[in-house]
Amino acid sequence: MTDKPDMPANSRRRFLQQSAAAIGGACVLGLGVGLYGNQANALAPTALRPPGALAEEDFLAACVRCGLCVRACPYDTLKLATLGEPVPTGTPFFTARDVPCEMCEDIPCVPACPTGALDHALTDINEARMGLAVLIDQEQCLNYLGLRCDVCYRVCPVIDEAITLERYHNPRSDRHALLLPTVHSEHCTGCGKCEQACVLPDASAIKVLPRPLAQAKAADHYRKGWEEKDKAGGSLIGDQIQLPVRGLDTGEAP
């Protein structure tokens, strides 16, 4: 804007009118961008963020969509979302069923991030929390049917910690065991190897979901009696009356 000391009144009026139009236009566009952005921020649950990614809201403030993490990934796991995909445009993600995270020990994608949208404090890949595996279709899981598939358990890079096989009685045959793949949230990195390896056609019975979607939170006032008992070194409610258990003490089946 050039300074015009002797600006006539009607060009001042025109200037004001144009400015008002410009401000109005910018407000409408800005509002539109904001509202559209809200929707464009929606992240499909099958799209997982790279290791070390900040919580989604912070991630979107930090990620400049440069793709340097994608270039650093030696396994072609990461992709940048293109316009039209159900992931904020230009941000990096991977689809576990297609190409899971191989959990490189040096985590090359993290130091490649120039802004810290992938937190540089993450140096141990076992601390990564890209999502949480959930054995979501128990009706189709072969182990739940009583077979020994075990593939998700075998491929887990944190085997016996993130996924264990828990033994239960098989009520269908009544004489076999069920060895149920069980995910432990304190160890699962969300790499997605289990989801990729599941032998079922098309969709996997075990799926890695974003943690906020997969996890519930215990209510603040909930206490587990057995934990409280251990902490206190004994029962908190004192001795209780021991009632006889009828039928079992004789050793005979009813």
């Binding site: 300074d3 566009l29 930090a62 400049v64 293109t82 445009t89």
Partner: protein, 302 residues
């Protein structure tokens, strides 16, 4: 207008081609296209060499530049980051790592010292798109409806910063056709072509020079950044001007010419408006060699 001539309908390059030849009349245009292509090419060498390597036609991929316009690493050492995007990120509440800050500082210094909207004319991948729309509009003589006010882009710049602050996201990246096109070329397209086509059609049918000259807040940002930058177009031989209007026809920001060419509100022949993209097209098309690319300290006239 002292000497009326029958030049209204002619091609703006016609007179310059007669006096300077085709090459002389397109020197800066060719340099600019070479710069735009070369700049994009630097980003494309990596992905193309990777593709060749995977098809067994190359021993190993070579990456002179990784990343895209938002942030990149050159030869695995030099970081460059878009300061406008980083500013939105800062307002959205994220303090970036030093790599991005260093990269943004280098870019800030370059455009702040050399020339702000140099970015628009010489590097931005959308520029050839809007240039093509402008050329087609002139060729087909398409009349456009009134364009939005030229100051819209600065208000929109402010609006994107405010939206970033309020929503906690990098606001302009939801729409930015520049990064969408650049990313599309380097990482794969999706529906990004639709956005680029929309910009092209907007400039062709609705508003002359509408996108780059009135809407784009990226250009507004770099314009403000280069307020005191060194490189300037000047009209040192303005006494030779024959009022043919060729420069006004090709200039993407025609409002910047008059103060320098006609000494309107200033004495010196320098175009100091931060809207000037330093594209040099006026230098090309002037058959009288009125314009010259020079520094802001050169106020000489001849």
């Amino acid at each position: 207008m002292s000497s009326p001539r029958s030049v209204a309908g002619r091609k703006p390059t016609a007179a310059a081609r007669e006096t300077k030849g085709w090459l002389g009349a397109n020197r800066f245009l060719l340099l600019r296209r070479a710069s735009q292509l070369g700049f994009l090419g630097l980003f494309l060498i990596g992905p193309i060499s990777l593709w060749l390597a995977r098809n067994g036609r190359l021993e190993q991929a070579w990456w002179p530049v990784k990343g895209n316009l938002a942030s990149s690493v050159t030869l695995d050492t030099l970081p460059l980051t878009d300061p406008y995007m980083l500013l939105q990120g800062l307002l959205a509440g994220h303090l970036p790592e030093t790599a991005a800050l260093t990269g943004a500082l280098i870019v800030l210094l370059f455009y702040g010292l050399i020339g702000g909207r140099l970015y628009c004319a010489w590097f931005c991948p959308i520029n050839p798109v809007t240039d093509a729309a402008g050329w087609l509009r002139r060729t087909l003589k398409i009349k456009t409806s009134p364009t939005p006010p030229e100051s819209l882009r600065r208000w929109l710049l402010l609006a994107t910063l405010l939206v970033s602050l309020i929503t906690g996201g990098i606001a302009w990246e939801w729409v930015n056709p520049i990064s969408m096109l650049h990313r599309a070329l380097i990482f794969g397209a999706g529906a990004a072509w639709g956005v680029v086509a929309a910009v092209f059609l907007y400039d062709l049918l609705f508003a002359a020079r509408g996108w780059c000259g009135h809407v784009c807040p990226v250009g507004a940002f770099y314009g403000l950044l280069g307020k005191f930058a060194l490189l300037r177009v000047a009209a040192p031989r303005r006494r030779a001007c024959d009022d043919c209007m060729d420069c006004f026809k090709v200039c993407p920001e025609p409002q910047v010419i008059r103060p320098a060419l006609k000494a309107a509100g200033q004495d010196h022949p320098l175009i100091l408006s931060s809207d000037c993209t330093t594209c040099g097209r006026c230098v090309d098309v002037c058959s009288q060699d009125v314009f010259r690319l020079t520094t802001r300290f050169n106020r000489s006239e001849s």
